[in-house]
Amino acid sequence: MANDDTHQAPPEDGGQGIPAPSGAANLIDTDYVIGQDNIKSSKFGIDFDLHGKVFTFSALVILIFVVLTLALPDQMGPLFAGAKGWLTNNLSWVFLLAANIFVILTVALIFTPLGKVRLGGADAKPDFSYAGWFAMLFAAGMGIGLMFYGVSEPMTHFGTSVNGGSWAPLAGAEGDTDGAIRLSMASTIYHWGLHPWGTYAVVALALALFSYNKGLPLTMRSIFYPVLGERIWGWPGHVIDILAVFATLFGLATSLGLGATQASAGLEYLFGIPNNNVTMVLLILGITIVALGSVVAGVDKGVQRLSQLNMTLAFLLLFFVIGVGPTLAIATGFFDNLLAYFQELPALSMPFGRDDSNFVGGWTAFYWAWWISWSPFVGMFIARVSRGRSVREFLIAVLLVPMLVSVLWMTAFGSTAIDQLLAGFEGARDAANELQLFEMLGQLPLSAVTSFVGIVLVLVFFITSSDSGSLVIDSITAGGKVDAPKPQRIFWALIEGFIAIALLLGGGLEALQAAVLTTGLPFALILLVGCYSIVKGLMSEPRG
């Protein structure tokens, strides 16, 4: 089973063998040379350097899915939707249980001596400042979702909680307004708090550890080394990487398509710009062009700067809502909601014996499948920018800080919207999902400005997802190389935009999004292996 043939790296004195990354670390002894299965050429003046099998089969699988979804929309749509429904309803316990394990492990690691291990070796220095690093973590992780669900989710849970029933979290608090507010905020924060970030943290930590400290390539297959050993270089590894490319590309393309639909609705609401296919295609093209510029400029000058711009705008909007909204209620609500979240956490995360089955299947398991299917992309990107951080520092930044930001964000946007509803404004509650944020902002001063900032934020969050996603896919299909030729990353950014446009015009965005969700199941199992690998990998690392 487990492969134990690691060796203590010799000191950096020119001795035999491979020197440690930066200071003491424990490299895995393998003969595999990164890129040995790659195909390299510079035909037509365009350089490329690709993993033959992973690239070819990923491209084929992607092509087949797009063609099938476009050619047989009536068959494929219900098939994917059925598979998604079956998974989230019948196997919700798998998702809940797995996500609980991710959270318990990642929180526990913060407090154990293993938290002292440094990614990249004991003397490694971080590549990015705290501000740049955190902005990138957050923008890749969930930025866009907070824009759409910050108002929508607390309002929905509040509505179901007041009425009670199996769609209400923990069967609701029928007729009890204060109880319903408390439950709605606790369950929203539950979906945006420790569990999603714990999921990302498992993938990111496993990849960072096995790449920076163990010397394996930065691709999903490396997580499996403690279990599969040298077999990860063969088909078992190829399949894991192909699955990661599939989930990342379709996750991004479908989000891009659905996001364009929502942004277009927002533009019509704000400026009266016609909400049609032309607007949506132009939006996708615009996002893709800026994302192209960003991938060419690279992680430091492209992704990092856009993420920082996004964070600045997001915090300005957040503080504006706190300032002009019910400030005192938000301030006290922050602590009340945090407390309610921790009090309800055991009940909300219980995988068995629930009497709110629709809430568990339709909300929690759906979210968990979504976070898990996104975890290869987000986790890999987080790993890429986290060299030089200690495990403890890493987990605090990837787990605890985003959780607190989510609590503040959901409290500010959700409480304000619920406050408006209780004061008699029903516009936000009755609006379509994508417009609820703008309806809520419409009740506050300077709504033309804040709504515009909201639209810009939505678009830039899409750009930062698109560019970091292209870098991730490029690296996986290049066999773990992060220094593959530039045209490859351009290729992936373009493909993402084209697939989004094809599915938008031809139909099938929702069908493919359902297909992406079904990858949540295999990845849940992959991530459980990741948990084992993390512990095993950290145990063999020098601490200090």
């Binding site: 990164i34 890129g35 003046g45 390539p217 060419v296 690279g298 060299r387 030089g388 190389k481 030729p485």
Partner: protein, 142 residues
């Protein structure tokens, strides 16, 4: 005329480097110049080295091997970057400043249509430094 020659080296593509290395040896001997070989690596494992430390060792060994060919004093300098492909130009410009080189000799490819979008590194370095830049074409491009 020249006292310090800087030579960017891509250890993953030694074949394309060969003609430039011959020019470096000739120029260094002609001007009695010192040479700094500059390499850029990732923090993640790459095809050349599994750790930045291993990359440094390999570049140092390469520099010493070149010293045995041309006999001029050599140093090796490694820059590490999370995205070396995108940051190449900036890092090379920094390296020119850091090494105080008055001549940069680097391998390059023939002009191609893609240069309009992604200019050759030599173009960028020449545009942004005051040192002399000598670009050497790879023979297979001719």
């Amino acid at each position: 005329m020249f006292q310090h020659i800087m030579v960017p080296v891509d250890l993953a593509h030694m074949d394309t480097l060969e003609p430039a290395l011959g020019v470096v040896a000739d120029m260094a001997r002609h001007y009695d110049a010192n040479i700094t070989y500059v390499g850029i690596t990732t923090g993640t494992p790459s095809s050349v080295a599994r750790t930045p430390g291993e990359y440094e060792q390999k570049l140092e060994a390469f520099a010493q091997q070149r010293h045995s060919v041309h006999g001029r004093p050599v140093t090796a300098k490694v820059y590490q970057s999370p995205d070396p492909i995108a940051n190449m130009d900036d890092l090379l410009v920094d390296a020119v400043d850091d090494t105080n080189a008055d001549l940069v000799i680097m391998a390059t490819h023939l002009p191609r249509s893609l240069d309009a979008i992604i200019p050759a590194n030599g173009d960028k370095v020449a545009a942004r430094t005051s040192s002399s830049i000598f670009l050497v074409r790879a023979p297979q491009d001719k």
